[in-house]
Amino acid sequence: MKTTVTTRDAGEVKIIELHGKITIGAGDLQMREAIHAALAGGAKKLVVDMKDVSTIDSSGVGELVGCYTTATHKGAKLKLMALPPKISDVLTVTQLITVFDVYTDEKDALASFG
């Protein structure tokens, strides 16, 4: 599956949709570029939609952590939604699942911003 990253608006929330592999040399940099572009555009509320992510590796996880830190430093909130079980497992074993705000679906993710 080819990796694609798309960004759309849901009100004042930017939804970053990831499709395919978020791995070294593939989707890791695409994801970072999309999130950084949203932050550079002034977005303060971001949700990364991971429902179509097939695989993530340590590089993808590292980029996700880096984006989370960058967003926080800019006063923005970056949250995750719709984690497939295998992606949730990868974040769980490194205990990062407790770092991110994770939501089941878009409705819950959007509601969490209040």
């Binding site: 791995t23 070294i24 340590s58 590089s59 590292g62 952590v65 830190t69 079980p85 949730s88 074993v93």
Partner: protein, 152 residues
């Protein structure tokens, strides 16, 4: 079919991340030959990608003229994967614990942890002509490679 052991498949790969796809495809072929599919296949694939990415990035420093050795074999219920690089070697004990609170938000340093989590055993050694040789083993009859992640 877990007793099907055709001998190791050996590949020499240029240090390019695109080659991870080729290596994973070969791994999946071997896994299916040996009757393994589903979750374990996925996690072994993740470990292989981490091993190769380490060899390319940290071992060979991304130099496409340096190659990565890959052997996929093992006998009986055991899958054995060997990855070697042409770099200067490294000290695995020097890798910081990614679970330590001070390392939790670091952007790197989780690859070896994932390999250890998803495989039964991993060892590092020096190659005969330098570089690092990583050997990973997995019992193909084991039920889960995530070691209870979902119940954590």
């Amino acid at each position: 079919m877990t007793d099907f052991s055709p001998g190791p498949i050996v590949l020499w790969l240029a240090s390019r991340y695109e080659n991870l796809e080729l290596a994973e495809a070969v791994l999946l072929h071997v896994c299916r030959q040996r009757g393994l599919a589903g979750e374990n296949e996925h996690w072994i694939g993740v470990a292989l990608r981490e091993a190769l990415a380490n060899a390319i990035k940290h071992g060979n420093r991304g130099n496409p003229d340096k190659r990565v050795y890959l052997s996929i074999g093992g006998e009986g219920d055991e899958l054995k994967i060997v990855v070697g690089d042409e770099g200067d070697g490294f000290e695995p004990d020097a890798i910081a614990d990614p679970l330590a609170p001070e390392n939790q938000l670091k952007t790197s340093g989780r690859g070896i942890f994932y390999m250890k989590t998803f495989m039964d055993d991993i060892t590092f050694s020096r190659g005969e002509t330098g570089g690092t040789v990583l050997t990973m083993r997995k019992n193909l009859k084991a039920e889960s490679s995530t070691k209870g992640a979902r119940s954590a």
